[in-house]
Symmetry: C2
Subunit: 227 residues, 2 copies
């Protein structure tokens, strides 16, 4: 039994973009699949009282610097977009519509294309016309997607999806939940990998855990203590 | 010429504590020394509009979980303190007084002892009497330190030190500045190490950088692009 990894992101989040370039690969390595969940940080920030990093005093300049340095450190293509942040509502709705009508694979391919368009090609992804073009480059009927993404049904679904995410404790982007364990930030990918490794089916592990020895009288709570 | 690494921290910051257990070791590996700068996040947060992580809606529960998981991941001793956050003004002032009167080595040893007392032994480091005890365990005259830390001179110095830090862009804990490059968070220690590695004196490098070849017509700006 391998449960999906839940990946929450806002299309205007640079760290969300970085995560989007690695999450599928990481999951695959451990035989997992990824459920992609577009959210709107604007809605979340109303609850947490936060603001986009580049708009916070003192943090702003640092954030721009860190986006670039982090991209370079991890070897990820990145170009500072001219417009930031921008509304990502239509893009998020388009992903939901694609998931409903074309399945996860096409929806995920579209989501990756949107991130790449924004953070590499500096395309204004708030423009519905740009989203239509991106969809068509993937063989998707862009006009149908645009109409569907603008329907009341999808608008309501996005609102509800964000409510669900917040109920699960999601408060930022990227946010990953694996087996009930929450991870906030691209800089937790090392800990996500450690978690996935620890949850691999036993037959794949080189060394079985100590707890698997029924003769052991080790206090299992000790395993939680630092080495 | 090897400049000091500036390390800013608040004693009530768990990630600051984690950083305090690794920063000297990391610096030493690259022939650097560390200048320890106690600051007060309460003062900084007035400018950034932030609050201690565990007090932010939604982020609170996550933060406690992440402190523990991060400690375990990095093999750092950690026990959730009963009182959090607590006032760290007297501890910060004591470090400054020790730097002024006993030098950096003793001040740093005391700072490490304070962090350990708070995040491992659950000692209330807001209590001046506890700080005196810690000092005496290190052979420091605790009463002299307590009196010195309470002087107007040291109070003014701490205020001024925090002003300087903020003028340099410091807005959180831990915050590290190396050769003018700012790094926020314990989760940037991998990027700090990459920076230190790139700044090692040339004779120590195994492979000289491409830019060192005067015959090369490579556009050096390309080195900044992701691989």
């Amino acid at each position: 039994m391998t449960a999906a990894i839940d990946f929450y992101f806002d299309f205007s989040s640079p760290y969300g973009y970085f995560a989007s370039t690695r999450i599928d690969e990481l999951a695959q390595k451990y035989g997992r699949i990824v459920a992609w969940h577009p959210i709107l940080l604007g809605v979340v920030f109303k609850t947490t009282g936060s603001a986009p990093l580049p708009q916070v005093p003192l943090k702003g300049d640092y954030a721009w610097r860190d986006f670039e340095r982090t991209a370079r450190f991890h070897g990820i293509e990145y170009k500072r977009p001219a417009h930031f942040p921008l509304p990502t509502t239509q893009a998020a709705r388009a992903v939901l519509w694609l998931q409903n009508h074309h399945g996860d694979d096409i929806a995920t391919a579209f989501a990756k294309a949107v991130f790449h368009a924004y953070f590499v090609d500096d395309i204004n992804i708030a423009e519905p016309a740009e989203l239509v073009k991106l969809a068509e480059s993937l063989g998707i009927d862009g006009r149908a997607m645009d109409a569907g993404a603008s329907s009341f049904q999808i608008k309501d679904q996005l609102k509800a999806e964000i409510e669900v995410a917040m109920a699960k404790g999601v408060f930022g982007s990227p946010f990953v939940i694996v087996d009930g364990e929450p991870f906030w930030g691209f800089d937790r990918f090392d800990q996500i990998e450690a978690h996935l490794k620890s949850r691999r089916p036993t037959e794949l592990r080189a060394v079985p855990g100590k707890g698997s020895n029924p003769d052991s009288d080790t206090d299992s709570s000790k395993e939680k203590q630092p080495a």
